[in-house]
């Protein structure tokens, strides 16, 4: 028989690239592990929510459950989309596996939520340690003014101040900022030794990094630190040389050196068509599929959300990003966070080269919220 | 361009599916002054608009100085020497008076504008006003001056005197007469003020329900009061 998995993500519109990565991760997993669990064929049904739109997300989730009869909901690039679908889960008896949405609180919205991506807290907090270790005392934070940006700012600030550093200024700038020169001017005027930045991956990162160089901050020795969203692999070709040497912390780099990752990158690269487009949402989806396969295995294909979720609590495996485990309590993924530096390889491509590892990181954000 | 003749044969035209003109034919030699008369709604304006290429034509031909205009669009006809001043004051509202006149110049050099200012000093005073900032009568004068600037060989004037002060009417009629007298253009004029029209014209065309009902000279018309009564229906 067939078991359907409904995947909701941004497959068109401004975030189409991320949706494409979802699809690549899923296809890579099925290519490597087959499209069946036992004699249950796993079929994927895609539904598009181009931009954060909880109403549409909820309607599509409901449609997937009621009309398409899916046994699993998965995907969710944006937090509000996941939040909107979460209340349906218990009544629908369907588990939800989050491939991306990175706000800590989502897992608390329903006991049937499992997350295989990361949280902004998880990827930002280690950067504070890096800064401290580099002897940086004064930092200015610059983040996009929306949920994840604020999360990143808080995570960094809390941790950095906990380590004894000072955050001299916090700047929140609108998502729609195109010209970053005035921001760079502020950074310059603040006298900070480093700037911690969070911007969602996409076109604005290009302007930000260029502006950082053009306004002479790099030359002035002001270090740019950021979670890996800023140097998403798919943006690197566009960023080019201006990104060289940037330090970011993140849970996954396409260049991660392991046999699991080699296999993944090859399969996912094939699935996505242009390997240069591959980046982190693909690995969230890949591991998400692993969790779903395990759930199917555990329930023998029967629709039983509780049993399915219980079966993966504490599940540990080696992902393309390294060793990971589903925390039994929070149902969020525990993983390594890496410090990476942008490098140009011999063949002229740019990569995030991992240079340091923070092992077994949980989600500090959930703890902080309590 | 010197004045040219105008031949219309078998013209049938209207708006959309409704036909207003039926089989209209006439021929006007170069340099004549013609008045087109008729009660309201008989299709006088439609006749001019059709010659200018702005209605739907069902049949018939139009020739200007021997050249066939029938298949040309409005702009092509204008470039062949046809001038047309519609009944609605079709000034360009967002252009200044001077720019309005510039459009009328066709390919003449800019200095040609002076002709219009000489003829209507009022326009010179108002040359920086936008079309929409003119008084009703000034708009009327502007449209006429604009078409004359293009030195058409045949000029169609649809009620050029409407809304004008009596003294301006006199001046304008004198100007038309002068233009025709120099052999510069053939002038066809629709006019409600019959006396003024008859004083101006050498020939008269009267329309009735989309067809030509009478042709002749003003003198002939004056001698046929019953024709005037029947076709023009004027009490005074």
């Amino acid at each position: 028989d067939t078991i359907k998995v409904g995947v909701i993500g941004p497959f068109s519109g401004p975030f189409a690239l991320q949706g494409k990565n979802f699809q690549a991760g899923i296809q890579a997993y099925q290519a490597l592990n087959g499209d069946s669990v036992g004699d249950h064929k796993v079929e994927i049904v895609y539904r598009d929510v181009p931009q954060a739109d909880p109403a549409q997300s909820a309607a599509l989730a409901q449609e997937l459950v009621v009309k398409e009869g899916v046994q699993y909901l998965a995907g969710f690039y944006f937090t509000p989309d996941a939040m909107a679908a979460a209340p349906l889960l218990e009544q629908a008896n369907v588990p939800m596996v989050i491939f991306n949405a990175a706000t800590s609180a989502i897992v608390t919205k329903s006991p049937y939520v499992v997350r295989t991506s990361f949280t902004t807290w998880q990827t930002s907090a280690p950067m504070a340690k890096v800064a401290k270790a580099k002897g940086i005392e004064k930092v200015i934070t610059v983040v996009s003014d929306y949920g994840p940006g604020v999360d990143a700012e808080t995570a960094f600030k809390t941790t950095f101040e906990g380590e004894g550093g000072t955050v001299v200024e916090t700047i929140r700038m609108p998502l729609s900022t195109n010209d970053f020169s005035p921001i760079m001017q502020r950074v310059k005027d603040s006298g900070a030794q480093a700037v911690f930045a969070f911007l969602p991956s996409g076109p604005t990162t290009l302007g930000f990094v260029k502006s950082y160089n053009e306004n002479g901050l790099k030359d002035a020795g002001v270090t740019l630190l950021a979670p890996g969203d800023l140097t998403q692999e798919s943006d690197l070709p566009a960023l080019g040389d201006s990104a060289l040497g940037l330090l970011t912390t993140f849970h996954y780099a396409v260049s991660h050196d392991s046999p699991e990752n080699k296999a993944f990158v090859e399969a996912a690269g094939k699935a996505i068509g242009n390997p240069a487009e591959l980046s982190f949402p693909a690995v969230g989806a890949f591991d998400g599929m692993h969790v779903i396969y395990k759930m199917i295995e555990a329930t023998g294909g029967k629709q039983d959300a509780k049993a399915a979720v219980d079966a993966v609590k504490g599940l540990a495996w080696t992902s393309p990003r390294g060793p990971v485990e589903i925390d039994p309590e929070t149902r969020h993924i525990t993983q390594n966070i890496y410090l990476r530096e942008v490098e140009k390889t011999a063949d002229g491509t740019y990569i995030n080269k991992e240079i340091q590892t923070f092992e077994k990181q949980g989600d500090p954000g959930l703890a902080a919220a309590k | 361009m010197p004045a040219a003749s105008l031949e219309v044969s078998g013209l049938t035209a209207g708006y959309g599916p409704t036909r207003i003109l039926e089989d209209v034919s006439f021929s006007i030699p170069a340099g004549r002054r013609v008045a087109v008369l008729g009660r309201n709604g008989v299709g006088k304006s439609t006749l001019f608009a059709t010659i200018a290429g702005q209605t739907r034509r069902y049949g018939g031909r139009i020739a200007l100085g021997g050249a066939d205009l029938t298949e040309l669009p409005g702009s092509g006809r204008a470039l062949k020497g046809l001038g047309y001043v519609p009944q609605t004051r079709a000034i360009f509202k967002s252009l200044t008076v001077e720019e309005n006149l510039l459009v009328g110049l066709k390919d003449r050099p800019r200095s040609g504008i002076q002709d219009a200012y000489d003829m209507f000093p009022r326009l010179f005073e108002r040359r920086r006003n936008l079309g929409s900032q003119l008084s009703g009568g000034e708009q009327q004068i502007l449209t006429t001056a604009r078409s004359i600037l293009g030195q058409p060989s045949v000029l169609l004037l649809d009620e050029p005197l409407e809304g004008l002060a009596p003294v301006i009417c006199d001046e304008l009629m004198a100007a038309f007469a002068a233009l025709a007298a120099t052999g510069a253009m053939t002038i066809l004029m629709i006019e409600q003020r019959i006396q003024a029209a008859l004083a101006f014209a050498e020939d008269v065309l009267i329309l009735e329900r989309g067809q030509i009902a009478w042709t002749g000279t003003p003198a002939q018309l004056e001698s046929e009061p019953e024709t005037v009564e029947r076709l023009l229906g004027v009490a005074h």
Partner: protein
């Protein structure tokens, strides 16, 4: 004076014949809703979303179609309704759906009042830009006030109680659907009444020529503000229903995108016509859902082609085209006789 009696004008026709036509219109809505309910019992969430959107597009039709004010800021108003209802539920424990609707309508009316005072200061394109500025400001404000609105994560924790204490909101969205359709019918009927009232007539006149309206001694601005408040109440209802049905209010509900989509739906259906607003919404959302589930990756092109095709073949919107066809058929029939 027999002449007078003979030409008893049609529009002075009896009240009862007008009510008959209203009843017919409402019967049509009910019939369509019933067909939807029985044909797509598994897709009531989509149908509910369409009906909710219809309320918002109807509210837009009031100001744009009847009042002649083009706006790309309607979501600021419907979104205010959604947040008002959502905040009432999440922060103040007002979870009765009908009470939430009332709060939403009030919030929308208030937002309509505020927007109108600003928007009516501009003319033409500048007016359009004022409306954009308003929706962007509202969006920004909702983002900033995250303690109240949840910011970009969305306002969650909205748990409406059963309707009349009896009908629980269910996974199949049956309750939502019935509630939405009932609300649509009430709103539709009221709007029809209002649009043929003296006030409605005045609005139509203002749309055509405000200067002329002033010259008969009527006040233009207060009338338009009143229209806006009305529209705001309707939009607020739509927004509140939105909050009730999805239990989350996101920033998208006060976005430029939503405003623009609503405008597209309205023009698609035909402006200045309540049915146009509803048909435009139905066709657009349904088409979008259809093509995006067939090809979630490249459906946008198909929607684009649909819009271009509509302008190509039905430049006056779908209802405009229907009207033309009807008129042509009638003319042919009369010609045949």
């Amino acid at each position: 004076m027999t002449d007078l009696a003979q030409s008893a004008p049609a529009s002075m026709a009896t009240t009862s014949s007008r009510l008959k036509r209203d009843a017919l219109a409402i019967a049509i809505i009910i019939a369509v809703a019933a067909v939807g309910f029985f044909l797509f019992p598994n897709n009531l969430a989509l149908l509910s979303r369409i009906v909710i959107m219809m309320l918002i597009v109807l509210s837009l039709d009031l100001v744009t179609g009847y009042g002649g004010i083009a706006t790309l800021g309607q979501a600021a108003i419907s979104g205010s309704g959604a947040y008002a209802a959502g905040i009432a539920a999440a922060h103040f424990g007002i979870v009765d759906p009908l009470a939430m609707l009332a709060v939403g309508a009030a919030g929308g009316a208030l937002a309509g009042l505020v927007s109108s005072v600003i928007i009516l200061r501009g003319h033409g394109l500048a007016q359009l830009v004022l409306s954009i500025a308003i929706v962007q400001l509202a969006h920004e404000a909702a983002n900033k006030a995250s303690a109240w609105t949840g910011g970009s994560d969305g306002l969650s924790g909205i748990a409406p109680s059963p309707v009349f204490g009896m009908f629980q909101f269910d996974l199949w969205a049956r309750t939502t659907f019935f509630l939405a359709v009932a609300l649509l019918i009430v709103v539709f009927f009221l709007l029809r009444l209002i649009m043929r009232s003296p006030f409605g007539m005045l609005c139509r006149a203002i749309k055509e020529d405000p200067v002329r309206v002033r010259a008969i001694g009527a006040a233009v601005k207060p009338t338009l503000i009143k229209l806006y408040v009305l529209s705001g109440a309707v939009a607020g209802l739509g927004g509140a229903l939105h909050a009730i049905s999805t239990r989350v209010v996101g920033l998208d509900s006060v976005s430029f995108n939503l405003s623009a989509e609503a405008l597209v739906m309205l023009v698609l259906g035909g402006t200045g016509n309540l049915f146009g607003a509803m048909i435009g919404t139905l066709v657009f959302v349904w088409f979008e859902d259809l093509v995006s589930s067939i090809n979630p990756f490249h459906w946008l092109t198909m929607v684009g082609v649909l819009l271009v095709a509509v302008v190509f073949f039905a430049p006056r919107g779908l209802t405009g085209a229907a009207e033309d066809i009807y008129r042509r058929l009638r003319r042919d029939r009369e010609a045949g006789k």
